[in-house]
């Protein structure tokens, strides 16, 4: 079987995979990084979003071998180096941006990609950016509040 080599959350990783192995299977089953979730497996829900060379991608819609040489970041790589929650994660907690938590890894990765590009998005931009991320629990309002708060803005702007 072919080998794939990449950097995941700053650490080198090499694994044997099949041609058909999905990136999300490699992360979850090959590397034990089960924080990246599979909600739909059809590209609709965004629970599997990770960063590939800094850009958000759906790990269920990408073959593992396509990540050869890439720099990947998953939810496991989002906390501060001392293990405490990053400001974005903390904001989700403070503003009740999660209930069951199933969509949360994808939401955090997608939101982090937005804030890296656009550090002070308005509520409309936050909602547009989350177009491909589904949440069955929160009704989204508190997710938008959390992201606005993490960007240093008034969470009540989510109502605008």
């Amino acid at each position: 079987m072919p080998l794939v080599t990449m950097t995941v959350n700053g650490l080198p990783a090499t694994r044997e995979v099949e041609g058909r192995t999905l990136l999300v299977q490699l992360l979850r089953e090959g590397l034990g990084l089960t924080g990246t979730h599979v909600g739909c497996d059809t590209g609709q829900c965004g629970a599997c979003v990770v960063h590939l060379d800094g850009r958000p991608v759906k790990a269920c819609l990408m073959l593992a071998l396509e990540a050869e040489g890439a720099n990947l970041r998953t939810i496991e790589g989002m906390a501060n180096p001392d293990g405490s929650l990053s400001p974005l994660q903390q904001a989700f907690r403070d503003h009740h941006g999660l209930q069951c938590g199933f969509c949360t890894p994808g939401m955090i990765m997608m939101a982090a990609a937005l804030l890296a590009d656009n550090p002070k998005p308005d509520a409309r931009e936050v909602r547009d950016h989350l177009e491909g991320n589904l949440c069955r629990c929160t009704g989204y309002q508190n997710i938008v509040r959390a992201i606005l708060a993490a960007s240093g803005q008034e969470p009540a702007l989510a109502e605008t």
Partner: protein, 261 residues
């Protein structure tokens, strides 16, 4: 998914050679093909990934022409064409969601020719040229009905050349669950006249709406198409919208595109 071999050539020539065998298929961004493979709708023995071919990426502009590499992602086009062809960049920036735009490519979108896809409208309305290793195909000859194109088996799109219109805009009315176009209209005013291409609406896929083209060539104002509606016959009818509603939306989206151009 059935098992297959994945190969990642570095040049167009290698890709063409690898695609010569009948059970090989090109892989662009995989945003359409991977779900199809999961459903076992296709059974290639070999996937030839185009993602490692630097020569078919990127967007360049010169002398009134914007050339998009066949492997350029929607995100790349949204960023790189923002100044040189803003209507095209805006269209690319509204395909799917940010993750789909990170991977999906113009070549994959055109080769697939989904009747609800956005890019076919831009290509047809702009009068663009689709470039493959063997030939150049004019937009008017490229689209051959729902999910069908002029591409031969194994023929890959290496670039798309867009002559930049004087004014242009794309308006889509999205199906709220899938976010694909329920009706999308790309209007382009060129020195030779106005071209109007409609996606999402017709059973036969993207088409030029010549009645609106004539009215807008005479007078490029939203009022020129007020009350103008294409025939409902041949429009898609499904749980999301009836043929009559889609036809109505085409008129509304056309007027909005003219106003925005």
């Amino acid at each position: 998914m059935y098992a297959f071999e994945l190969v990642r050539p570095g040049t167009v020539e290698e890709a063409v050679a690898l695609l010569a065998s009948p059970d090989a298929q090109a892989l662009g961004g995989g945003q359409t093909l991977i779900p199809a493979l999961k459903q076992r709708l296709a059974r290639p023995a070999r996937l030839v990934s185009l993602s490692g071919i630097a020569a078919i990426k990127g967007v360049t502009a010169s002398g009134g022409t914007v050339t998009v590499g066949g492997g350029a992602t929607h995100a790349e086009v949204a960023a790189a064409a923002a100044r040189t062809y803003p209507a095209l960049a805006a269209l690319a920036g509204r395909i799917g969601d940010p993750a789909v735009r990170s991977r999906g490519t113009i070549g994959g979108s055109l080769a697939n020719n989904d009747p609800s896809a956005c890019y076919p409208a831009a290509v047809l309305a702009s009068g663009a040229t689709v470039v493959t290793p063997a030939r150049e195909i004019a937009a008017d000859d490229f689209f051959r009905g729902m999910f069908a194109t002029a591409l031969a088996d194994g023929e890959i799109i290496t670039a798309v050349r867009f002559p930049v219109p004087v004014r242009a805009a794309y308006m889509k009315f999205v199906q709220p669950a899938s976010r694909f176009a329920l009706a999308g209209v790309f209007v382009a005013q060129t020195p030779a006249g106005v071209r109007v291409a409609v996606t999402g609406a017709a059973e036969a896929g993207v088409f030029r709406w010549t009645a609106a083209e004539a009215a807008l060539t005479a007078d490029f104002r939203p009022e020129s198409v007020r009350g103008l509606v294409p025939p409902a016959r041949g429009m898609i009818g499904d749980i999301h919208a009836s043929p009559e509603y889609r036809a109505h939306l085409v008129g509304v989206m056309t007027a909005r595109a003219v106003a925005a151009a």
